[in-house]
């Protein structure tokens, strides 16, 4: 029986298909194992399951002498040294299906909250100074009729586009490769270079994977290209943004607002964000509903079952 080490105490509802066929070890009296605990346990296991915030580095992989599979609980895999795993012949899988709709939904919710100032209203209305009830004061920006630029038009980007089109938006996108014409037609989406996208869009949503090439791809130069009425949305990874430049752009109103679900040093957030009224902040909750998180466990488990039993198509990243 293959042994699975789970770095997080996932809800049992999502692990049913693995029960009886695999031996599972997970934290019992707390939510997650520390790096040290994983290092001590891992030599005995064929499969390791890190949650998306657990960094599976060279040192850990080195210790996993029996490791055959790292089944990531997340779609992004910048929490795993995939290159090193590959060099050791260890397979790495991720879960693109279950996170798709919840993340697109959250990204579009953040866009609307920033544009229409929903976060701001809900915060300010509860304070003694309150918020304006006037005709123009404390007004938001329209979404309908505006242009959304999507950086990274993969499945999540397209699921955002679907919502945006129904909300009356036009779509521009930038991607490593231009998409199939049929997909473009579906969203009436226009392929443009990054500079064009930044200059022309009223809303810019970052949905590319985090790679060395996309590291801090949004910096001072890029924010300067954006419209002063533009809104920037990041539900991808914090390290794709130069946060100092973003804070400066928000402070100096070079852009109108931002909505951020991810941060460079999360769970630590640069405290300068807290003082800004033109930003909506969320704690990496793009797929955080209990129902979706259980679906993510099921997809993660099926990568293991598929890997060993061939019953499911798996999502390998190496």
């Amino acid at each position: 029986m293959k042994k699975i080490l789970l770095a997080y105490r996932f809800k049992p509802e999502g692990l049913k298909e693995l029960e009886g066929k695999y031996e599972m070890v997970a934290p019992k009296d707390k939510s997650y194992f520390s790096k040290e605990e994983v290092m001590e346990l891992i030599p005995d296991f064929e499969v390791f399951v890190p949650n998306f915030s657990f960094y599976t580095d060279k040192e850990i992989i080195e210790k996993g002498k029996k490791l055959e599979l790292i089944s990531n609980y997340g779609v992004g895999f910048n929490n795993i040294d995939v290159e090193y795993a590959t060099s050791k012949g260890i397979a790495v899988t991720n879960i693109p299906n279950s996170v798709l709709e919840p993340t697109a939904e959250f990204a579009f919710g953040l866009l609307m909250a920033a544009a229409r100032r929903i976060g701001y209203y809900d915060r300010k209305i509860r304070t003694p100074e309150g918020v304006s009830w006037g005709v123009y004061r404390d007004a938001g920006l329209p979404v309908f009729g505006k242009t959304l630029g999507i950086i990274g038009m993969g499945r999540i980007g397209q699921a955002i586009a679907r919502r945006a089109v129904a909300s009356g938006m036009q779509i521009l996108y930038h991607n490593r490769h231009r998409l199939d014409e049929n997909i473009e037609k579906k969203y009436d989406a226009r392929y443009v270079d990054l500079e064009h996208l930044l200059r022309e869009s009223d809303y810019v949503s970052l949905n590319a994977p985090y790679t060395p090439e996309t590291h801090k791809m949004m910096g001072e130069t890029q924010f300067n290209m954006m419209k002063p009425t533009a809104v920037f949305i990041n539900t991808a990874r914090g390290s794709m943004v130069d946060e100092t430049a973003l804070i400066q752009a928000l402070k100096e109103e070079k852009i109108w607002a931002a909505a951020l679900d991810v941060f460079e040093n999360e769970p630590d957030i640069n405290p300068e964000f807290f003082a800004l009224d033109n930003v909506v902040l969320a704690p990496h909750a793009g797929s955080r509903t209990v129902e979706d998180r259980i679906k993510m466990s099921i997809e993660m488990g099926r990568n293991i079952i598929g890997f060993y039993e061939g019953k499911y198509t798996i999502s390998r990243v190496n």
Copy 2:
């Protein structure tokens, strides 16, 4: 030249079409006229333009000896004693077109903010206690795959349905009259009675007009019918809800959350709402973007031009 009394100092960009052809009087050194000031000025005017929060009662109409038209700056007209205006032969118009998309957009934004806890995250993350970054804690509810019940399936209701369908939702609706089959098909929407809608929906959006029949239509009985995981959204009018019953339902978690843009005694809000984490609060901002508010002025002005010059189809409510 017909004389127009404007109760609010609207931005001139929206009044251009009236310039030169009508004499306009508006507040100069402040945003709005008081009731007393309107009473004093109105005997001289053929047209009165109240903003949506200005109550145009019998007393005011009585004083408007020359009044021919009340051109409301708003879609709801519960701020006007329409019956009395009618008895005096005064036409009343409203502006359903320009508020349509911004209001639907705001309603759907509130739905997403309440479901995915965007308001909560943005508030709590800025406090010393912060918010959880865990896998399940402080989790929201999914929108995708869930059922939205729309009470009042007029144009705003349908514009919400369009967004909801693209977000993966099923639509139930309740309305005074069942809609045309083609409209139902467009949103795959099912007509049900109110009790069915309340019992079966994961999200309930109130979009009916305020009338004596809809006064406090959502009370204890109705909230008790809703699922404990349901979210209630009100962007219509506050007086359609028994707020004491709603506060109780939120406190006792009979329903999961609410998102409210309108209140019984706005701009005063029952302070009990402020202590609740499962509610998103907004200051009647459904159509509050400067761009949309200017479009509303243009539509309002075209009701006047249409009334006197026949150049535009007007939206009369009496």
